[in-house]
Symmetry: C2
Subunit: 306 residues, 2 copies
């Protein structure tokens, strides 16, 4: 494939940026990829494992001359990074990001984008519970969705080029407005993560059930929650602080439903429980048919056979 | 290995019974395994796939002469099945079960156990989201825990023999009293399942986020919940109706914690969120070190690389 961009700068070198680099290299999608991380330790790791064609010691150096700059830092840090790099952006360049919320990122980054630079926010719906520069891999985005969230006045050409990059990295691409994005993600990601963190915290708190029992007997269902609750704490703190409104709305609905089921348990209403549990099976089938998860039992882990 | 029992009867032919049959055959742990299911269709499927050495059309025929009878029916059905089979049990036989709750099973089954027959309740902590006779496989119990819950007066010899069977099927075995079992499982299994069912139900209800969006974008975290929420509705209805007390207690704790985190989100208390999310990472590490889950990202599904 011919290069989509001549030079790409990845700012922040965690799971997503490192996976982007390996995916860009796999597809030969850019002439050069520069990288910058605030921590010297991270930059050193990146150099050691060959992450990025050139790891820069300053933000300025990394973004200078880049046709595309992608902010891969926690959502809460994006505004400050955008402000710091703004004077060094090349005219005609595109700034994008990979943040899990979009309204707050647009509010924080948008005002710093100079005249003549394009701003096309994005969010790849992909990740694992691992974080850091060594956790990335080229296939992370294959058959996952990447959502582009153009802002008012986003240049159609800049949007199309970013779409080509994401498609080149293996993703399916869709466009969406920021408000809808934040609500959809509150349902499919943010609230499930908060609930998983909460359940794991509860288990950790219990004194009569020792840690070791919680761990030993985790395969009964709980261990699925612990994977989600092992995700990066900084990233998730920022997600909840910046997608407050939609998360609180979905949490309110969740609590309502939970109380209704709790009441059914208390009153012994087996029919209500059975009907509820039957309805939720259909969604799973839909996800498997859509190719978004495996049908292998237990996600195929531990050699479970179909 | 020499046979642990000469004849084993499996009553109810779903995921657990079918996995037990394949694991017993793999280890050559019994001379003959008979099977019975209430539904003629299930018996037919079992015969077609070679599940059990002999599939019987009546409960009486299946349990006659058996040294071990294992109840693998939903918890809510166990009392009636125990009553029906009691007159046909061989003196000196052992009756066990695989139910996910233990106090309720002991209350329901215990009174029907005839003089001279041993009763050793058990619960293998293993399963997948799939159900039915065709979903079983021989390795389901490998390195999983199986909990024996002897009742007052359980014969030590009968307990030791059942332990040998579970170990022969690949499981690690521990003994526990019924009350503690039900609390531990409320934490590691029952409450997580209820929460997953609830979250999936909420997503299903939302009108602004269409089904197709929930499904398309499920890889962001939600799809893990849908696997759990695809489990057998009858089994789970019975679990919540029969482990009411412990489940409601853990649910109460969960709600308390959830409200505290919700308040932290509302008031913008990033420190509290960060601390909470950091603490929960440690449990995940413990589970991986204990060999109860894989460290491969995303459980290793979809070819994710470490």
């Amino acid at each position: 494939m011919s290069h989509v961009y001549e030079r790409v700068a990845l700012i922040g070198l965690g799971l997503i940026a490192s996976s982007m680099f390996w995916a860009i290299r796999r597809g030969d999608l850019a002439g050069e990829v520069t990288g910058y991380a605030r921590s010297a330790g991270t930059r050193e790791t990146a150099r050691r494992i060959g992450l990025c064609d050139r790891v820069c010691d300053t933000l300025e150096e990394a973004v200078s001359g880049a046709d595309l700059v992608v902010l891969c830092v926690p959502v809460g840090a994006m505004g400050a990074v955008a402000e710091a790099m703004a004077p060094h952006l090349k005219p005609g360049a595109t700034v994008s990001d990979v943040g899990s919320v979009k309204k707050a990122v647009i509010d924080a980054v948008g005002p710093h984008i100079p005249e003549g630079v394009h701003f096309v926010p994005a969010h790849p719906l992909a990740g694992t519970e691992h974080s850091g520069p060594e956790s990335g891999f080229a296939t992370l985005f294959d058959n996952r969705w990447s959502l582009l969230v153009p802002v008012v006045g986003s240049d159609p050409g800049a949007v199309a080029r970013l779409r080509a990059l994401w498609e080149g990295m293996g993703a399916n691409v869709e466009e969406m407005d920021a408000e809808h994005h934040d609500l959809v993600l509150a349902v499919t990601s943010h609230t499930p993560h908060l609930i998983a963190y909460t359940m794991v915290g509860v288990a950790d708190d219990l004194r009569r059930v020792t840690d070791s029992e919680v761990i030993k007997y985790s395969a009964a269902g709980f261990r699925d929650f612990t994977r989600i609750a092992a995700s990066d704490p900084t990233m998730w703190r920022d997600v909840f602080l910046t997608n407050k409104e939609a998360t609180l709305e979905i949490l309110g609905r969740f609590t309502e439903e939970l109380f209704a089921l709790q009441r059914a348990i208390r009153t012994g209403d087996g029919e209500q429980l059975f009907d509820y549990f039957t309805r939720t099976r259909a969604i799973r089938r839909g996800i498997i048919e859509a190719g978004q998860d495996t049908d292998a039992p237990d996600f195929g882990r531990a050699g479970a056979k179909k």
